[in-house]
Each structure stands twice: as C-alpha cells, then as structure tokens.
Symmetry: C2
Subunit: 155 residues, 2 copies
Amino acid sequence: AKPKVGYFLSNKKGNKDILEKLSSIKLSDIKSLPVAVTESTSVYDSIVTIFLENVGTLFVVENDTLKGVVSRKDLLKATMSGGDLSTIPIGVIMTRFPKIVCCTEDETVINAAEKIIENEVDCLPIVEILSNGKMKAIGRVSKTNITKVILDISR
Amino acid sequence: AKPKVGYFLSNKKGNKDILEKLSSIKLSDIKSLPVAVTESTSVYDSIVTIFLENVGTLFVVENDTLKGVVSRKDLLKATMSGGDLSTIPIGVIMTRFPKIVCCTEDETVINAAEKIIENEVDCLPIVEILSNGKMKAIGRVSKTNITKVILDISR
C-alpha cells in the first residue's frame, strides 16, 4: 500500500526546523563499522559471517578496495539455487560497480535515506576515494541507523 | 561502532518541534499492507513469496488470526539447516506469541522506531484486537516505512 503522506503538509514552519536539524546530522555521526569478506569467501561462510556479526549487509573487499556488496536478500536468493553453498564464492553473487550505491561521510541522513529508498537497498557503504582512484569502505549506514535517528531526535 | 549521538543535544527547541511533528505521524499514515502465508506453507514457498511480494517479513495467519512472523533472517537461517526446504512448514521456524512484538495503528512513528530498535526486528505487525481476543494483522510497519518518514518530513 502506498503510504498516505498528507501528514507532512500541515505545518510548513515545523518542516523547515526539521529540515535544518536533519541536515545537520552527517553520516559520520551515525555510521557503523563495515563488515568485510573477500571475493573467494564462500556463500556459506558469508552467511555465517552475517549471523556472527549480526549485520544485514557484507562488503567484499580486496587490498583495502571495495569490490562488492552482498545483502541478506542476495544470500537468500543464492540458497535457492540448490548448489553447494560452501563451494560458491561470494564474488559470483555479489553486486559490483557500477551498480553499487555509495555515500561519503559528509553526506546527511537525508541524502542517505533518499539513496536507500530510491535504490531499494538496505545499506550503503560509506567510502573514501583513495589517491589511486579506488574506493575504500570506511563505514556503513543502514535503515537501522536511520531508524535510530528518529529515536535520537525525539528524545 | 556506537553512533555518536552528540548532534541532537545542540538545539533543544528544535527537538521540541521535531517531537511534536513526529508524534503527529501515526502508523495509520505510513503503514504497508501485510503479506501472509499459512502455517503449512513450506519454507521454500515462503521464500518465493518474500521475493514475489518484495517484502522483508511475512505474517503467518490462520482464520484471520495472526499466529506468527517470519523474517528474511529467519528464512536464511532455515536454509542453513540443510533440510529439504519444500517439506519444512513455516510453522516450524516462525516466531510465535508471546515473542511477537506488535503495534496498533494509533501508535506514532516514534513508538514503532523504539520497538523495532529495542527488539532488533525489521518489521512490526500492526494489529487489531478482535472481539474473541485474538489479533488480526491489518498492516505492517518496517524500517523502510520509517526511513521514508525522514524523507517526507524533509521535503
């Protein structure tokens, strides 16, 4: 069902204050640590990592460079294939560039919410661009971090 | 990493306006439709339903009554068991009462965010209590709905 969004139209002044507050919350304020595997890690071991680290998304990293992203949804899909999960490398099922949606830690919680909703992902890597032009994952921001913002700003 | 939460202390007045605004957003304003299976639906068919309906959580319903909740994480765990997913009924792996965390549609987005974060779940069933005392699932609210609120109130 489409959410009814009429509620936010009633108080334009309030919205301006809220916009100001939310614009002041940078991803560096709310980020979590990245959890990484390598391309040769098996799908099985990646699922184990998801549970042990209690995260929804893993980053695939080689030589300090972000190569891929794998969500719980990707892993669930992989389990449906019927293959031996301990022999399938995560590199086979991960999302690669240019399809990875990234952000930087100076972006605001509003930017992150926008990217998450528009691209239908659960989590964004927070990256730093290295001098060789490659991306290093320095954090992650998920719907969980954003849901916590709603709590923090109401307290 | 624990989020740094210092950012919300700087502007108490702004927080009061935000609290007022967020308290005015009820779950009836932002809810999505529930997606249901029955206790005898197989784990395999439940995973197929998760993908076809593009949701993160399924409700298990019998005779219009909410019996259980199953998340993508529960399904991923079930696939690790190595059993034949098409013969395991979802009733075996679902979360049951009293462990299900519910909400009603007159609760606010703040209440829902609180329950989601404290109980570490992705989604809450929105229920109506029937005259026989049982719960009917009339909607769902997830971290996605809450992330959309951040966007809506900043526009």
